[in-house]
Symmetry: none
Subunit: 119 residues, 4 copies
């Protein structure tokens, strides 16, 4: 994983985990990677992962079991609600960035069509 400058690492990790949950790569009930393990994998200090996990726990997307690890919530409604919120937010932000610089909605859509498979 490669981190953007200009955004904190822990929020990038947070979003990374979040997206994997939304995508169903981390299924409800699944045990998340151990803090130190993930820290190692991302070449990051464990405390940074701790903070990312703490934020996710505050939202309720993950929960802790003392000494046992962190787990994806089994509250499907919450996951779906957070996912919808996330997408809406990204769409809004994207449109906000691009709007006014292209003539039309159609142009934006063309851009997306043109780049969808690049990624």
């Amino acid at each position: 994983m490669h981190f953007k400058e200009n955004e904190t690492i822990y929020t990038q990790i947070e979003r990374y985990i979040k997206k994997r949950i939304f995508k169903g790569e981390y299924r409800p009930g699944l045990r998340l990677p151990a803090i130190r393990e993930l820290a190692l994998a991302l070449s990051v200090n464990p405390n940074t992962v701790v903070k990312a996990y703490a934020e996710l726990e505050a939202i309720g997307l993950i929960f802790s079991e003392r000494t046992n690890g962190k787990f994806v919530t089994e509250d499907y409604d919450l996951i779906n609600a957070e996912k919808a919120k996330f997408i809406k937010c990204e769409v809004k932000e994207f449109i906000g960035q691009i709007k006014g610089m292209t003539e039309s909605e159609q142009e934006i859509i063309n851009y997306i069509k043109g780049h969808y498979d690049d990624i």
Copy 2:
């Protein structure tokens, strides 16, 4: 203007100016707002604006005239190239965020159509 936490203020200002140039709100040759003036308008320390302007100057989108202020470049090609780069970048980032969470390109487009006029 309202700044996001979690991203530096100066990059947010930088992008704000950039977008106004790309949108043609700040036309080539135009004198940009004075540092103190903009700082005041944004409730920000002048040093922060200085930094944002410096970044834009490094890219070449604006230039200084000694005591006279900062101006939008008249290099149309550069503006267009930067604009294209900016849009491409935003599209890529957007698709990268959303992809895999929705079934298809079509769904993303529907989301955008659904929200385009909100903003």
Copy 3:
């Protein structure tokens, strides 16, 4: 039993046993629950119970008989002294927490009267 975060489990168990002794639920001379048994009942690692028992033994409230188990002390004076100390300590802590936030002693007492039967 449900453990508070933010306090070690073994001190919570220690206090739990202590209180049962003070309340006379565990009478002097009584054999305490076996370590494994209690650990199982509390869904806790046996080592944790061992530690709680060790603390109680250090105080003198319980004693070991080699292979036979742990027993409540028959030193009534010690029990009473510890009980008095415990209550005094709780009262002090409680007053310390609440004092200055309510106008008067009377108000604290009213609070207690109002909640005594809730628990």
Copy 4:
């Protein structure tokens, strides 16, 4: 300030600040001690204070102003609600600790009367 073993330092700091707010010693709108200043005063690492303040901010009792410091909320209703919750919680905990070890409500009250002025 002297910290109890067996409870995390940051929660003790958190409660310490909380109580000062409830007591009106830290009035709404007041600027809280700077992180490093408080850390120094309490002989504690700045990060520990950061965490305590972060918890208080999550509750809403304090808020941040970028680079300017932390301030007590001016939401009087929130303060009163949290205060009521805090007192109720302390009373409940206290009664829970003591109940069953003394004969009666009256005895508890007598204990409090007997110790109220000690603290």
